[in-house]
Structure formats: structure tokens, C-alpha cells
């Protein structure tokens, strides 16, 4: 049996699914970690509930997002967590696989690089999705936020969130390309996540930045700014996928997908060739 040949296929989806399946299984084997992470969710929502009492409602209304700060912040924090868990997990898992030596085994198999990266990214997507749903549930049930919960708004928001994730996954692959070479440190994720959390309007409306032109301009370059803006318009103000501002957000995100994906995968390929030249496919 061991010697007998078998039919070999070249299925990209099968490889991507295998990476997603195995790594999700590893992730969910850490049950205590999952439980404690989920238990921390109500605490972070509560912090924004009480912070919201200090925020002036006029500045929020002026930005076009209504007057309910907790709903505004809940979307910002839940979505940020979703996006960053998805992106950061990719470079973290690659770092671990380099240290354990498992990446070498994967790289010496006929695994397609893109299938590996997509499989790993979707695992982060699953994890981020769980945290996102949990925090939204806590916000809407315990703290009674005023989000639109009709099926049309929810589906539109889900579509925009997925688009935001895809736009940002390119950044995750870029970060993974850097980790592949430098093994430690995560400059791409660190810089982009710090800028995003600070400047994308996660916990305050961007009109507050108008007094700081440089920071405001930087905020307009970040893809996440547009995802957040679109989802808030859909869930807070009842906008639809035909609303011009939401269409604009979609188009900007599409542009980022078109620009970032080929760049990121190319960078990863360059990094892979570099570590093959340097002989540093592992660091155990």
C-alpha cells in the first residue's frame, strides 16, 4: 500500500483548504485562550459605553453618523478587531512556523504559495469573525445600541466588511513577506495598525482631525478609513449600497485590492527567494 501510486491532482483549493483546516483545528485546541478572549469582550464594550458619556453628541452628528456614540464606537472597535486579527494572525503564524521548522516542511512540499497564504488568512478571518459577532452581540443586547438590524442593512454591511478585509489582507501578506526575511519584529503591521487605530476614526469621527491637516491627509490614505465609514453609514444612518458615499467607499477599497494584492504576493515571492539564497528558511 505504501509503495502503491495514487492519483495526483494539482488542486489549489484543496491545498488552501488543508492549510485553513489544520490551522483552525490548532487554533481551536486552545480552548482556555478562546474563552478568556471572548470573556474580555463585554469589558471592552463597557469601556466604550462609559467613555461615550463624555463625548459631545454635536460633533458626532456633524460627521454624519447620528448621535449614539456607543453604536459609533462599537462598529469601530469590533471591525478594527476583526480586520487586525485577520491580518496580524498571518504574520504571527508564519513567525511561529519559521521557529518551529514547520514552514520548511511546507515549503519543501509542492504547496502553492498563494494557497498557503490564503488558507492561513482565512483562518484569521474565522477567528476575527467570531470576535466580531461576539462584540456586536454584546453591544446590541446588553448595552442596547441603536444599530440597524434589518436584513438588508446587515447583508450590505457584511459585504462591505468582507471587502474591507480583502483590501487589508494585502497588508497582511506584505507583513508576512517582511517576517519571512527578518523573522522577528513586525514593522509593516505595527506601522499600519498604529496609524489605522489612531487615524481611521475608530473611536472618534474624522472631522475632529480637520484641525490637523497632515494627520487628516494620512487618514484619507488608509483603506480602513473607507471601510469603517461605509459600514457606519449603512448601520447607523440607513444608507444603502446605492448611496453615493458608500459607492465611493467601495470603489476606493476595490482600488486597494487591485493595487495591494499583486504587490503583496510579488513581495512574498521575493522574500521567499531571498531566504532561499540566504539559507534562512528556518530559525530553530
Amino acid at each position: 500500500m505504501i509503495r502503491s501510486p495514487y492519483r495526483k491532482s494539482r488542486s489549489w483549493f484543496r491545498q488552501a483548504w488543508g492549510v485553513f483546516w489544520a490551522n483552525s483545528k490548532v487554533l481551536f485546541s486552545y480552548r482556555t485562550w478562546m474563552v478568556t478572549e471572548l470573556m474580555g469582550m463585554p469589558v471592552s464594550v463597557a469601556i466604550y459605553f462609559f467613555t461615550g458619556m463624555l463625548v459631545s453628541k454635536p460633533s458626532l452628528a456633524q460627521a454624519g453618523y447620528g448621535t449614539d456614540y456607543l453604536s459609533f464606537a462599537l462598529i469601530g472597535v469590533s471591525m478594527t478587531n476583526f480586520v487586525w486579527v485577520t491580518i496580524v494572525r498571518l504574520s504571527h503564524i508564519i513567525q511561529h512556523e519559521i521557529e518551529d521548522g514547520t514552514l520548511e516542511v511546507v515549503l519543501s512540499s509542492p504547496t502553492r504559495m498563494s494557497a498557503y497564504l490564503v488558507g492561513q488568512s482565512f483562518r484569521g478571518l474565522l477567528l476575527g469573525g467570531i470576535f466580531f459577532v461576539a462584540s456586536m452581540l454584546v453591544g446590541t443586547t446588553i448595552f442596547e445600541t441603536s444599530l440597524r438590524t434589518d436584513i438588508f442593512s446587515l447583508l450590505s454591511a457584511a459585504a462591505l466588511i468582507l471587502f474591507t478585509l480583502f483590501a487589508n489582507l494585502g497588508i497582511g501578506v506584505l507583513a508576512a513577506a517582511v517576517i519571512l526575511v527578518y523573522k522577528k519584529g513586525d514593522p509593516v503591521v505595527f506601522i499600519v495598525s498604529a496609524l489605522t487605530e489612531f487615524l481611521s476614526g475608530v473611536v472618534y469621527p474624522l472631522n475632529l482631525l480637520e484641525g490637523f491637516p497632515v494627520l487628516h491627509q494620512i487618514s484619507l490614505v488608509l483603506p480602513y478609513t473607507y471601510g469603517l465609514d461605509g459600514v457606519r453609514r449603512l448601520l447607523l444612518k440607513g444608507a444603502t449600497l446605492q448611496t453615493s458615499m458608500v459607492v465611493f467607499d467601495f470603489l476606493v477599497l476595490l482600488l486597494y485590492v487591485i493595487l495591494l494584492y499583486p504587490t503583496a504576493f510579488y513581495a512574498f515571492r521575493l522574500s521567499f527567494d531571498r531566504i532561499r539564497r540566504e539559507g534562512t528558511t528556518a530559525s530553530y
Binding site: 495526483k8 521548522g101 520548511e104 511546507v106 515549503l107 512540499s109 509542492p110 539559507g279
Partner: protein, 332 residues
């Protein structure tokens, strides 16, 4: 159209390496490291060949080039007929590679043995039904049935090595590249691993190129060895030929029913120059002695010993052990 990639390459050699050169660039002002310097060797189909060398000699670099993880700077290497640089993807589907230095870390510890193998079956694009059959067969073959459902984190190092070997064989590779597969194993686990390797080579008829620092296992397993030193091949051939070639013809091995101290008389009487090595098993001493003239030693020593009341059990030309040959070659 049938997939012909499954048919093993029928060329003369499973592995062919020609003038392979690799230089690692020195970082932060450190000098460049010449890991391989125009290395050439081959491994035939069905052969079990050891790649020997001291730490840093270039063994792992050679193996990693063959499994496409390191790019050479010059020269050519082919595995199962495919160039490791130009057709890296094809080579990856032809090899089974295992790096023992990871001590079993290169497995997914939060998965059980079955799931570890299933994951790599996905990566190797083995269809579901074939994968299940192969995994079952490998788990039986490598004797990990009892632990197959347990998480790898609870395995002993020996069990992890068995699982790594099973994984190496998952895709039914044409060529096996094993880098120090017994490193860090206790005596019984190392014995078991050697038994499995021999079985894989003989029963499954797969060529194996492996590295090791253990000369005992090299002698036990391999019919041919390649010795690399400072990035160059300095010797190649069967272990026995290597040791006999290194025998300078000035040492004899005596086995005498006596204590080693009593045999000092041979030095005092000028029959041997020096006793190089002595071993006493409670009844007899085995002595390696340097002599001035081999022919004279064979004619004089037996008579002398009998005259002085010793019982000579055997006398023969002493060859260095593989370990001694290795040390002599690398020092020279």
C-alpha cells in the same frame, strides 16, 4: 491524459550533483562563508548513502539545496532527473525530506498523528480516499497506531521521529533526504529508527541520502559514504574501503589471554613501538600496537608470546575504525 509524474525517473542516478557551490553572504561585516565548494557526487537508485562531515562542513546545505530550500550559487543538482532550481516544484513532489535537528518540533503539536498526516496529504494533493488509505498504512508501518489519536505534544521524541518518517513517506517519494534523523534520540529510539530506515530502503527500495555524526549507524546502514570537509568532498566509497585505504600498514591488533599491563613487555623488548589502544574483557586483552615492520612483527611476536607463557588468541593487521578514519581524514 494519464499523469506520468508518478512514474519514477529511470535514469542512472536518483541524485546527481555537479560542482555545486554555495556561499552565504556575511552580515554586519562578517566574512562570507563558503559552504559548498564545487561539490560533486551521486546517489544511485536503491542506494543508502551517508553524507558525513563535521559541523559546518556543508552537509545540511547540500541536503537543503536538494530539497529546494536553499538556492545554489553555481553548479547543478538534479533529483529524480529534475533540476532543483529550474523545476523546484517537480522536485518537491518527488522527495521526502526530514530534518532531525528540529527534534520533532517540525510537527503540529496541537494535532494528533492522523491529522498531521492528513494536513500534509492536503498539501501533497493526495485525493481523500487515497490519503486515508495511505495514512492508515503508514501509521501501521511505522508502528504509531496506539498513539495515532493523541496530540503530538504528548509524544516522546522517538514517537515524533517515527511520525516525521511517516510524513516523509506520505507522498510515496522517489527519493528520501534525511538530515540527521537520529539526532537527540535515546539508544532504543535510535535503534528503532535505524531499523525503520533499513526496512524502508530494503523493502520499499527507495534511495536514501542521509547525514549523521554517528559512525556506528553509518557503518550499520550505508554501503557508501561521502565525506565532506570545509565544503569539499574529500573521500567517497564504501566504509570498509575507506578504513582499509587509511590503514598505514604499521599497526597490528593482538588478542592475548592476559591483562594489558603484562603486555607492556612487548614495548620493553622492542617488538612493538607503542601500545595505541588496549581493552580488557576480563579474560583477554585486545591491543592495537604500532610496529616498525609489519612482516617482522608477524614472525616475531607470536613466538615471543608463547615463549613467555602468554596464550595468543589472534593477530591481524589493524584497520582504523570509521570514526578514526573520519578524524584522520578531516584533520589531514
Amino acid at each position: 491524459m494519464p499523469d506520468t509524474s508518478m512514474q519514477p525517473w529511470q535514469g542512472d542516478n536518483a541524485i546527481e550533483v555537479q560542482k555545486l557551490t554555495k556561499v552565504y553572504s556575511g552580515k554586519r561585516g562578517r566574512p562570507d562563508v563558503l559552504a559548498l565548494d564545487k561539490v560533486s557526487f551521486h546517489v544511485g537508485w536503491g542506494e543508502f548513502v551517508a553524507l558525513l562531515g563535521e559541523n559546518g562542513a556543508g552537509k545540511t546545505t547540500a541536503i537543503k539545496i536538494l530539497c529546494t530550500l536553499v538556492l545554489p550559487d553555481d553548479g547543478e543538482a538534479r533529483v529524480a532527473g529534475h533540476d532543483v532550481v529550474k523545476h523546484a516544484d517537480t522536485v518537491r513532489s518527488k522527495i521526502g525530506w526530514m530534518h532531525g535537528e528540529t527534534g520533532g518540533r517540525a510537527l503540529y503539536w496541537r494535532l494528533n498523528a492522523w491529522d498531521n498526516l492528513k494536513f500534509f496529504a492536503y498539501l501533497q494533493n493526495i485525493p481523500r480516499d487515497d490519503a486515508s488509505r495511505r495514512i492508515k498504512a503508514l501509521i501501521t508501518y511505522f508502528d504509531i497506531e496506539e498513539y495515532a489519536g493523541k496530540l503530538v505534544k504528548d509524544y516522546s521524541t522517538g514517537m515524533k521521529v517515527r511520525l516525521m518518517l511517516a510524513r516523509t513517506f506520505l507522498s510515496n517519494p522517489d527519493v528520501l533526504l534525511l538530515d540527521e534523523p537520529t539526532i537527540g534520540l535515546d539508544t532504543s529510539a535510535a535503534y528503532e529508527t535505524r531499523r525503520l530506515l533499513k526496512m524502508v530502503n530494503e523493502e520499499l527500495d527507495r534511495p536514501i541520502l542521509f547525514t549523521s555524526h554517528n559512525m556506528f549507524e553509518v557503518e550499520k546502514l550505508c554501503k557508501r559514504l561521502i565525506l565532506i570537509h570545509k565544503g569539499r568532498v574529500i573521500a567517497e566509497g564504501p566504509p570498509s574501503r575507506l578504513t582499509s585505504e587509511l590503514s598505514k600498514g604499521d599497526t597490528v591488533e593482538l588478542k592475548v589471554a592476559s591483562t594489558p599491563d603484562a603486555l607492556e613487555i612487548l614495548v620493553q623488548e622492542g617488538l612493538v613501538r607503542e601500545l595505541l589502544k588496549t581493552e580488557f574483557d576480563g579474560e583477554a586483552s585486545t591491543v592495537i600496537a604500532a610496529v616498525r615492520d609489519l612482516r617482522q612483527a608477524f614472525s616475531d611476536i607470536p613466538g615471543f608470546l608463547v615463549q613467555h607463557g602468554f596464550r595468543l588468541i589472534s593477530i591481524k593487521i589493524a584497520e582504523p575504525s570509521l570514526e578514526e578514519a573520519f578524524i584522520r581524514l578531516t584533520r589531514e
